[in-house]
Every structure is written in structure tokens, then in C-alpha cells.
């Protein structure tokens, strides 16, 4: 599954951190500067993409608080 996140709103660091945290559920990589993400599912997980996006937002929030 490939999906895009707008770089103007999402930080690459937060996406990479999220990929690390999601490694048990899926494998993924940032394909290019536009933050195109490819996720390989390890199991059939519903709403993985949406959960991934929420998690990235959460990471960005936490970083802004630190």
C-alpha cells in the first residue's frame, strides 16, 4: 500500500519515528521528499493507514511539547 503525506504539514522525522514504532505491524519506507510512504502489512490490519497518520500527528505534537 502506498500513500502520500503532504510535506508541508507532516515532518519526515515524525514519519520515520512512526515507522520505527509500527515495525511490528508493518514494514515501510519514505520513498521521496514528498513523503510517499510504502507500507507492507504483516497482518491484515484495518485502518492502518489512518492510524499511521494519526500517530504521526501525535508524534509531532509530542515533539512540539518537548
Amino acid at each position: 500500500m502506498i500513500f502520500k503525506l503532504n510535506r508541508k504539514f507532516y515532518s519526515i522525522e515524525a514519519v520515520k519515528e512512526t515507522l520505527k514504532d509500527f515495525r511490528e505491524v508493518c514494514k515501510g519506507k519514505v520513498l521521496n521528499d514528498k513523503i510517499e510512504i510504502e507500507l507492507y502489512l504483516r497482518e491484515d490490519t484495518q485502518q492502518l493507514k489512518e492510524e499511521f497518520c494519526n500517530y504521526v500527528l501525535g508524534m509531532m505534537k509530542n515533539k512540539s511539547l518537548v
Binding site: 503532504n6 508541508k8 504539514f9 489512518e50 497518520c53 494519526n54 500527528l57 509531532m60 505534537k61
Partner: protein
């Protein structure tokens, strides 16, 4: 279905609501703050152009079927709008009271700064009261003026009682 002069678009089939936000009215940090509030209720996706128009996609986490779905999505979108207004107001107030907050914080930090207390002593502030306390001479009464009012001007009964007590 489009609402609020095309600022809210609901797609019942796919189960999402799109909110088109003007960044001149609601800056990006306000949009982030509003989005964080909805993290546990909805799936959020941000897109668009931060200078022209920001598109917020909200998907309900809890699946609702039938006619209720559209209403739920509309409610979600409207609540997001309210939250935007809430944070825009908060930001505006925070900017207005920024200076006074800084002043209060500085005052609080200076009051409890021990290094400043030391420097005050070295600069030679008036420490006469502390010296007097250490000296203990203020307790002496060579002219006999430290007599309680009751003893000096009180009724005879009081005086006599005290004399009895002294005996």
C-alpha cells in the same frame, strides 16, 4: 452534500468529511491544536496549501451505518469548526497577555534567586535589623519604660493581684 459556503463537504459513502480552512483566519498552529483534540475520535489527514487553503479530512473511528452517518459526519465537521474558533481565540489572548506573563515569570524567578540574595549582601544593603537581632541589646531596658499598660495604669485590683502573684 456541501455546507457552509462549500467549507464543509460530506461524503457519506466513503465516510469522511472535508473541511476547507482559510489559513489567514485560522493559522496552521491553530489547525494542529484543533486536530489534536480529535485524535481519539477521528482519523485526521491534512492536505492542501498552507498559504492558500488547508484541507482537513476527518473520518469517524466508530462506524455508523445508515442515515445517522451523514449527521455524525456533519456534527464532527461542525465541532472541528468550533474547536478552530476556540484555539484561534486562545492564541489571540495568549499573544495579548504575553508581556504580562513574561513579567510575572521574571518577577517570580527573581524573588527566589538565591544568587541575587548573596549579591545584595555584598553590595552593602542595610543589614542593621539583622545585626540588632544578633546583638540582643534591644532586650535591655535601662530607663524602665518597658512596663505593661495594665501595670502602670490599670485598676488597683489588677495591681494588687499581680503583687500577690509576685509574692
Amino acid at each position: 452534500m456541501q455546507l457552509g459556503k462549500n467549507k464543509l463537504t460530506i461524503n457519506e459513502e466513503k465516510g469522511y468529511v472535508l473541511i476547507y480552512v482559510n489559513p489567514k483566519i485560522y493559522p496552521l498552529d491553530v489547525i494542529y491544536s484543533a486536530a489534536y483534540v480529535f485524535l481519539d475520535r477521528a482519523y485526521i489527514l491534512l492536505d492542501g496549501d498552507p498559504k492558500k487553503e488547508i484541507i482537513v479530512e476527518l473520518r469517524l473511528k466508530e462506524k455508523t451505518e445508515g442515515k445517522g452517518k451523514g449527521k455524525e459526519l456533519e456534527k464532527l465537521g461542525r465541532e472541528f469548526g468550533n474547536e478552530l474558533l476556540n484555539y484561534a481565540d486562545y492564541k489571540q489572548r495568549a499573544e495579548k497577555t504575553k508581556e504580562i506573563k513574561q513579567l510575572l515569570l521574571q518577577r517570580a524567578l527573581l524573588t527566589n534567586d538565591s544568587s541575587l540574595k548573596e549579591s545584595e549582601e555584598t553590595v552593602g544593603f542595610d543589614n542593621s535589623s539583622e545585626e540588632l537581632e544578633e546583638d540582643g541589646s534591644y532586650l535591655e531596658d535601662p530607663e524602665g519604660i518597658a512596663i505593661p499598660w495594665e501595670e502602670k495604669y490599670g485598676s488597683k485590683e489588677v495591681k494588687s493581684k499581680k503583687k500577690v502573684k509576685k509574692k
